[in-house]
Amino acid sequence: MKLTDIIITANHNLFRSKTRTILTIIAIFIGSFTIILSNAINSGVNDFIDKQIESAGGDGYLEIMPTAVTENAVMALSGNGAVEYKETGNAPSEQPYITNEQIEKVRAIDGVESFDVLHTTTVDYITSNKIDKKYKLFNLNLVPRGNVNLDVTAGRKPDSESTNLEIALTEDLTKTLGFENAEAAIGETVTLAIPNTIDCYTAATHSECQRQVTATVVGVQAPGVMASGGPRANLALFEKVHELASDGMSQETKSQAYQATAQVDPARVDEIKAKLKDIGLTAMTIDDQVGMIRTFFDAILVVFNIFGGIALLAAAIGIINTLFMSVQERTREIGLEKALGMSSGKIFLSFSTEAILLGFWGSVLGIALSMLIGFGLNALAHATFLADLPTFNIVVFNPINMLIIALIIMLIAFIAGTAPAIRAAKKDPINSLRYE
């Protein structure tokens, strides 16, 4: 028998006992559907996280804090263990802020492309010449340096090397500030009000101690979880804000920073993190920060894959059962085929093919329905709670993943089918023809 004939005949034979076959396929489908859909959702989440990491600075972007700060936080939270206070023992690692000595050491590390100290910035409000109202600004972030992409819907990423004061707004803020749309905002200016720390101690009203700075809008960020952090400034604007706030302070106090960012060679992140630790600084990549979300979704995936696996195991037993029944029912047919010259090998192959086909149909059904539901879910999400995040798909289908899952399921089906197929192959033609 030719292989094509074997496949066609096997498929025909399968659907001779429709109910039994369909029930077995449904059992496989439950497993394949669970695995395919949960993998697709996991891909979607991971894809989203990757995009966000990319827009926040990429794999080589580090956020750095003095180790003492994180340790103090841990001590404070755990509430136990007294640490002796030493007047003179002010080792760098015990400093709650980043010292100049540390900055120099970090800049000397091989693989560190840039290192920017983030001084605390407080911005009271933001406004533009299009509106009279002033809006509170909770957060002003520094734009990542280097080749890192910033997902913008209009304009470009603020230039960190430039001395111009540049800012990238968020879409929400663009509308709030009275610009018609993202395109219209580009090239316009916004005004930020910064409270000067020293003056505000003595000023009669808060507005008296505010200093203003005007920045040019060069871009509007695409919506995303990271973009919700607020507008992003280039280094020049960021420094300017700090200068206005700290004007009048001593040089030492001025230069104190509790946070820094670095752009490093992505391939050497772990190595650099270890070196920073020796210096007394704790570094986290974006991936470390969103790692919790990733771990959470990975754990869910594992749970669903276990469910799917159990379903497939039950389905495999269903396959064995179905095929044993069919071998029994078709004993005389097998006898006839053998008498007419079909080899045991071909008989084995026909029944194995039936098993593989059960796996195949179960997988096809699983893929079809999970895609249907997946696309439906994406559409629903975009229409409702994800309306602000058009670049995020909850469910992302990876054809290679689906193919691999289908192949694994077909392999499981084949393995399940071997016992009945061997029984069929071993049948003696004469006894089989006598079988009532």
Binding site: G335, L340, K346, I430
Partner: protein, 259 residues
């Protein structure tokens, strides 16, 4: 003298082992010539079916050899035996053995499907075989919808579809009433006479046995008589050789035409 198609030498078949051993056939020697119609007659349990199974290469003997066209079949591997059965033999069984849910055509072309013959060619040959048994009109019907006589005719079509040298018929009329049984018998002997197919019929029906030119009687695993009634089969044999030669010629011409 016509060619010997099957020869059995000192054939012994034992089932079971040691004390439980049962010898179904004892030292059978038998030559079957091309174009003969041989009835193997005996009561149930006499060993006639066992003999047919051995001659048809469906089973291997405990002792002795079977020669097909002078070649020792005991030396053949399973796959070669399968091929031999598939190409040279046709089978008709008492219980028909049809795939009830398949169409008549599908049932008839099964041997050709096993032989890896192309879709188009096997359909053509199956249609020709159905024409012989006069059932072309039922080609697309399901086998389950046929009457007993029609079923057995389909089985005959299946037996001749591969242009066999020998047809083995195991109680071909056993499940049929006498009128339909006669039709089946006519068909089988027509094939034997017109196309020169060697016919080996296993039966306990004396009337059917009498139609054959040779009757081999078996009792307790031994041949008790072997009488050749008529010798007119030799003409049929030469006719078969002619048709065979014509078939080969045709096939060669077809191949030549394709080149």
């Amino acid at each position: 003298m016509p060619n010997t198609v099957i020869e059995a030498k000192n054939l012994t078949k034992t089932y079971g082992k040691k004390s439980a051993a049962f010898t179904a056939l004892k030292n059978i020697n038998l030559k079957i010539y091309e174009g003969e119609s041989v009835a193997i007659v005996g009561k149930s349990g006499s060993g006639k079916s066992t003999l047919m199974h051995l001659l048809a290469l469906l089973d291997r003997p405990t002792k002795g050899e079977i020669y097909v066209d002078g070649k020792n079949a005991s030396n053949l591997k399973n796959n070669d035996l399968n091929k031999l059965r598939n190409e040279r033999f046709g089978f008709v069984f008492q219980q028909f053995f049809m795939n009830a849910n398949n169409t008549v055509l599908e049932n008839v072309l099964l041997p050709l499907k096993i032989a890896k013959i192309s879709r188009k060619e096997r359909k053509k040959q199956a249609e020709a075989a159905l024409k012989i048994v006069d059932l072309e009109s039922k080609m697309k019907n399901k086998a389950v919808d046929l009457s007993g006589g029609q079923k057995q005719r389909v089985c005959i079509a299946r037996a001749v579809v591969n242009n066999p040298q020998i047809i083995f018929a195991d109680e071909p009329t056993g499940n049929l009433d006498s009128a339909t049984g006669d039709k089946i018998t006519d068909l089988l002997f027509e094939l034997n006479k017109k196309q020169g197919v060697t016919l080996i019929v296993v039966t306990h029906d004396e009337d059917l046995a009498k139609l054959c030119n040779r009757i081999v009687r078996i009792s307790d695993g031994k041949i008790i008589s072997d009488q050749t009634v008529r010798k007119d089969y030799q003409k049929q044999a030469s006719r078969k050789r002619e048709t065979e030669a014509a078939r080969v010629r045709n096939a060669n011409e077809k191949k030549g035409g394709k080149k």
